[in-house]
């Protein structure tokens, strides 16, 4: 008998399951290009990617905490603290950047560590723990700057957010921020989806009791997630400060935008499910929506309404799909 008579593999192959967020991003970008052909030029889309870099890195980091089952509301205030602190310390000395950024990363690590310890050992729900951290850090940023930031960031610091490499064939220009986005995006993807740590993160978020019984060091995994989130917030702060300059409320609102991006990317709040590439796509989608609304000449208030509707819609759709899949 030939192989032909063997039972065939199921003939009707299902379409590969594509996360709807990728379709959304593609649709939005096509819409933008149709409305504004200049967006298809390298300067158009590179500037868009440059704008989105800070939020995308931040969301990918915040996803670590979301997948572990918590929230991190302190990331926006960490960004503010990074920008304010750097501008206060730099005192216009271009060489200061080389020790300021490591110092800020150190501060970020300590903040993340405190968040994690408070959640793990004092058993404070992460919503409250990081909310308290947000209030305190905003106070620290105000204290440090005396209410009005003085000084400005040296060009060496702003390099990451502002500088473009020009004269590249094919794409003409390449902002440093986009290189950072790709680099850190890959790093965070690797950490979440290719390491034991990432697997434990999912396990802890899905069912902490089961994870503990299976031998996962739940506390250590949770604390690490908060540290990763805080560190990416510092990186996002460096990039945002480089692009937009110094202001006292530069990071406010980013904590909710990061959660929004993760949710649009299909992450499940309260843990156990989430993907770094999809979250970055969620950030791209969010920024693309804002760009589109700007092109349509719609004002800030409409942006808010649309953001709200998309947020609710994305989660409602995800819940509906999950229910229909019987999970």
């Amino acid at each position: 008998m030939s192989a032909q008579s063997l039972p065939q593999a199921p003939t009707q192959r299902r379409l590969p399951r594509i996360n709807p967020v990728y379709v959304l991003v593609a649709a939005l970008i096509i819409a933008i290009v149709v409305m504004n052909p200049a967006f298809g030029e390298p300067t158009g889309y590179m500037n868009y990617l440059k704008r989105v870099a800070a939020l995308a890195i931040l969301s990918a980091g915040a996803l670590y905490v979301i997948v572990s089952g918590g929230f991190d509301l302190s990331v926006g205030s960490i960004m503010t603290l990074t920008v304010i602190g750097s501008s206060m310390l730099a005192s216009n000395d271009p060489n200061s950047t080389y020790w300021i950024i490591p110092l800020m990363l150190g501060i970020g690590a300590v903040v993340g560590l405190i968040n994690g310890l408070v959640v793990s050992y004092l058993k404070v729900p992460s919503l409250i723990a990081t909310l308290g951290m947000m209030i305190s850090l905003n106070g620290v940023a105000f204290m440090w700057s005396g209410g009005a930031p003085r000084g400005y960031l040296p060009d060496t610091f702003r390099f990451f957010g502002r500088y473009n490499i020009t004269d590249i064939p094919l794409i003409t220009l390449l902002p440093i921020a986009v290189i950072c986005l790709v680099g850190f995006g890959l790093l965070l993807w690797w950490g979440m989806h290719r390491t034991n740590f990432g697997r434990m993160l999912h396990a802890v978020g899905d069912n902490p009791q089961a994870a503990r019984l299976a031998g996962v060091p739940v506390e250590r995994v949770r604390i690490s997630a908060f540290v990763v989130s805080a560190l990416t917030a510092v990186l996002a702060g460096v990039i945002l400060g480089g692009r937009a300059g110094v202001s006292v409320d530069i990071g406010s609102g980013f904590e909710l935008q990061a959660i929004t991006a993760a949710v649009i990317g299909g992450a499940q709040l309260l843990g156990g499910r989430g993907s770094v590439p999809a979250t970055i796509a969620g950030a791209l989608a969010l920024e693309a929506i804002f760009t589109l609304l700007n092109l349509l000449g719609l004002a800030q208030p409409v942006r808010l309404v649309v953001q709200g509707l998309i947020l609710i819609g994305a989660v409602a759709l995800a819940t509906y799909q999950r229910k229909r899949a019987g999970q």
Binding site: V124, I128, L131, S136, N138, G139, P301, I312, A316, K323
Partner: protein, 326 residues
């Protein structure tokens, strides 16, 4: 002695008394500080009333938020509801005393509608409450700031009595807040809806299997929450004599009301807690502010300490729990 064999040995239930302990220590700290600085003028009855009177908006909002948190939900839209209802109040009244009743009714209807939508989205579409109410908050804020970008309308003098009138030295609004708290306590303690709230918060699936229509309870709790926020907005409009689209967000009433409820001993996961704990939390909050004022703490340092105190107060309850939290 005779009834000794029939009573179980009374163990000290820490969680039950934790908010009272926190409240008493805040009061003790305040009194000690005032005596230490020799500023006894801060110990008068007038000053006590002033301390309480400062937190009426937060108190009314927190009463509603208690319901949302008790069912295991949360409401981030209260700040926007406060802004919206303050603006609607002052715009509809627009200085005309005869429009007072229609304005209040319109605002209450608006609050009930928002709560209904929140509840429906959470219970029927099964959207995570954090996201549902955050989305709602963005939508309300967007609609509101589309039409108004500054103080709009004004509240007639007759209506300012709500915020400024007083019986003796006790403001009407303070009495109103405690009456509202009393009603909420009655609902939670003595009505079927109240016990349903605790069942749904404790274990939603068990409540459903026990025959409780959980969706209705969730919707009811959110309607109450939004109604309270709407009332807080009416009060704020009466106090500020007008409404602006940013007053809710400026007061951070969404996050502060959650913090106050949790400091009052209501568990974020739902099912345990109560109104009087929340009221204790509100008073603790305003006492802390008074302590900072008396001690002359710098405004920024005050903010830093405030964040730390919120976490520490919640840790005070939570550190003994053996459950895993996230």
């Amino acid at each position: 002695m005779s009834d000794a064999p029939f009573t179980a040995p009374k163990r000290f239930r820490f969680e039950r008394h934790a908010s009272a302990i926190l409240l008493l220590s805040a009061i003790a700290l305040y009194v000690a500080l005032v005596l230490m600085l020799g500023q006894t003028r801060f110990l008068t009855l007038d000053n006590l009333v002033a301390i309480l009177g400062r937190s009426i908006t937060l108190g009314i909002t927190a009463i509603g938020q208690t319901f949302a948190i008790l069912i295991g939900s949360i409401d981030l839209s209260v700040a926007s509801v406060i802004s919206a209802s303050a603006v609607v109040t002052s715009v509809v009244m627009n200085g005309d005393p005869s429009m007072m009743l229609p304005a209040v009714l319109a605002v209450l209807a608006l609050g009930a509608l928002i709560g209904l939508v929140n509840g429906l989205v959470i219970s029927r579409l099964e959207v995570n409450p954090l996201i549902a109410t955050l989305g709602m908050s963005l939508i309300i804020q967007g609609v509101l700031s589309y039409y108004y970008n500054n103080f709009a309308g004004n509240v007639p003098v007759e209506f300012q009595v709500f915020a400024y009138g007083a019986v003796g030295i006790v403001p009407f609004s303070l009495v109103f807040m405690f009456v509202l708290a009393g009603c909420a306590w009655f609902i939670l303690r003595f009505t079927r809806f109240g016990s349903d709230v605790y069942s749904v918060g404790g274990n939603k699936d068990a409540a459903r299997l026990a025959g409780i229509k959980t969706a209705r309870v969730v919707i009811g709790a959110h309607v109450i929450c939004s109604l309270c926020a709407a009332i807080a907005g009416i009060y704020l409009a009466s106090r500020l004599r007008s409404g602006a689209p940013w007053i809710g967000a400026e007061g951070v009433y969404d996050l502060e009301s959650i913090a106050v409820v949790v400091i009052g001993g209501t568990v974020l996961a739902g099912g345990r807690g109560g109104i009087w704990g929340t009221m204790a939390g509100v008073i603790i909050f305003s006492l802390i502010d008074s302590i900072f004022n008396v001690a002359g703490v710098d405004a920024f340092v005050k903010q830093v300490l405030r964040g730390i105190i919120i976490v520490a107060a919640v840790a005070f309850y939570a550190v003994r729990s053996r459950r895993l939290v996230a």
